[in-house]
């Protein structure tokens, strides 16, 4: 029996356990640069003991079902624990799905009257090998939100550049629908899994959301995690070509 079902442009969000209360914080970690968002969100789900409460289905997702510990699991899942709702995916979103997913997801989030929606991502830095402590950058879809997010020590504003793919489209939809949506990025390898960058994002979220998550276990298992995520990174790299993700290495043109 399905809970609430929303369907727009072939994307449906199914709440197996309905999410009824407002004021929640939504965190999204779809795979992209360095799998930073995916690693950080999955780690939070594990450490905060979030429970699977729903999934997202779409016409353009490949016909695949994942199996883990002898159990079937959806490719794109929604988790909940207390005031945090997290969304993760086992596969990169195909390019044709990016916009429909952003429209449907943000419209669903708006219907929940959230406190905040946060996308987590990597900021590609070709010099990452020389960076011991990746910098964290934040951007809200309105200036007041950016000021609030940057009030945590040690982070900077994302001042200019491009944000490609579903993260950029979610931010745009949040701006359009007047949802407090933001993106948190850490300097990262472009197409190598980067648990070190994910750890910096978790440290920031720990302070912002007062959730006190220890990143030591993540850093200790970093090499194993990189090996486990190699195939996902390879496929994500392929998809990133299709959405001009390398544009994030450029600055917007200035005509004056």
């Amino acid at each position: 029996m399905r809970g609430d079902l929303r369907e727009e442009q072939g994307v449906e969000i199914v709440e197996v356990k309905p999410i009824k209360d407002g004021g929640l914080i939504f965190i999204e970690g779809f795979p992209d640069v360095g799998l930073v968002g995916t690693i950080a969100t999955s780690y939070l789900i594990d450490k905060l003991g979030l429970e699977e409460v729903g999934y997202i289905n779409a016409e353009t997702l490949p016909p695949i079902i994942a199996v883990s510990e002898e159990k079937l699991r959806e490719l794109v899942r929604v988790y909940r624990g207390g005031r945090i709702v997290a969304i993760v995916s086992d596969i990169p979103l195909p390019a044709p799905l990016v916009k429909p997913m952003a429209y449907t997801l943000m419209s669903w989030v708006k219907s929940k009257e959230p406190e905040l929606f946060i996308s987590l991502s990597g900021l590609p830095d070709p010099n990452r090998l020389n960076i011991d402590k990746p910098g964290v950058f934040v951007l809200g879809c309105n200036p007041e939100l950016t000021e609030k997010l940057v009030s945590i020590n040690g982070v900077s504003k994302f001042r200019e550049g491009f944000i490609a793919g579903v993260k950029g489209m979610l931010l745009r939809e949040g701006w359009r629908l007047k949802v407090d949506a933001a993106i948190v990025l850490a300097q990262s390898h472009y197409n190598y899994p980067d648990p070190g960058a994910a750890a910096e994002i978790i440290l920031y979220l720990s302070k912002l959301l007062k959730i006190g998550v220890d990143v030591a276990p993540l850093l200790e298992s970093a090499e194993e995690l990189k090996l486990r995520l190699r195939d996902l990174m390879r496929r994500t790299d392929q998809v990133m070509h299709g959405i001009q993700k390398s544009k994030e290495l450029e600055l917007p043109p200035v005509y004056l």
Binding site: N191, M233, R235
Partner: protein, 136 residues
């Protein structure tokens, strides 16, 4: 009407090209995974750049250590081999193997390499021959 048909033909052509690229990439993924399972040889993720007078290769080699990495640098290739110790099923006791053909010739005696946080970086100076030309 005629313009719409032309657009449809162009769009169908683009879709066919996309499908062909997807098919080729899927074939590549399949070949990589089959080789990894059959030969226990792991193809690492890697990037190859040209920057000014240098050629730079980086490769993601988690689960090894710098003393066990074998790097051979030729004028037009890098060959990297390293053991990979991992608890990940199918990768246990595997071996990284990467043979990359370089886009330009390099001077093998200039090659420098370092291994940091699971990433190997190899930098070589390009072999540049020619005559200096005065710009008028």
């Amino acid at each position: 009407m005629e313009r719409r048909s032309l657009w449809r033909i162009i769009l169908e052509g683009i879709r066919r090209m996309e499908a062909e690229v997807n098919r080729m990439e899927e074939e590549l993924f399949k070949m990589i995974k089959e080789a990894e399972v059959m030969r226990r040889c792991i193809t690492p993720l890697y990037n190859l750049y040209e920057s000014g007078d240098e050629v730079i290769l980086t490769a993601d080699l988690p689960g090894t250590n710098k003393d066990e990495i074998e790097l051979i640098a030729g004028e037009d290739y890098f060959k990297i081999e390293a053991p990979c110790k991992s608890p990940v099923r199918r990768i246990q006791e595997g071996r990284y193997v990467l043979h990359v053909r370089l886009p330009v010739k390099v001077d093998p005696e200039t090659v420098k390499a370092r291994y940091k946080e699971g990433v190997l970086e190899v930098v070589a100076k390009k072999k540049i021959t020619g005559h200096r030309v005065k710009v008028e």
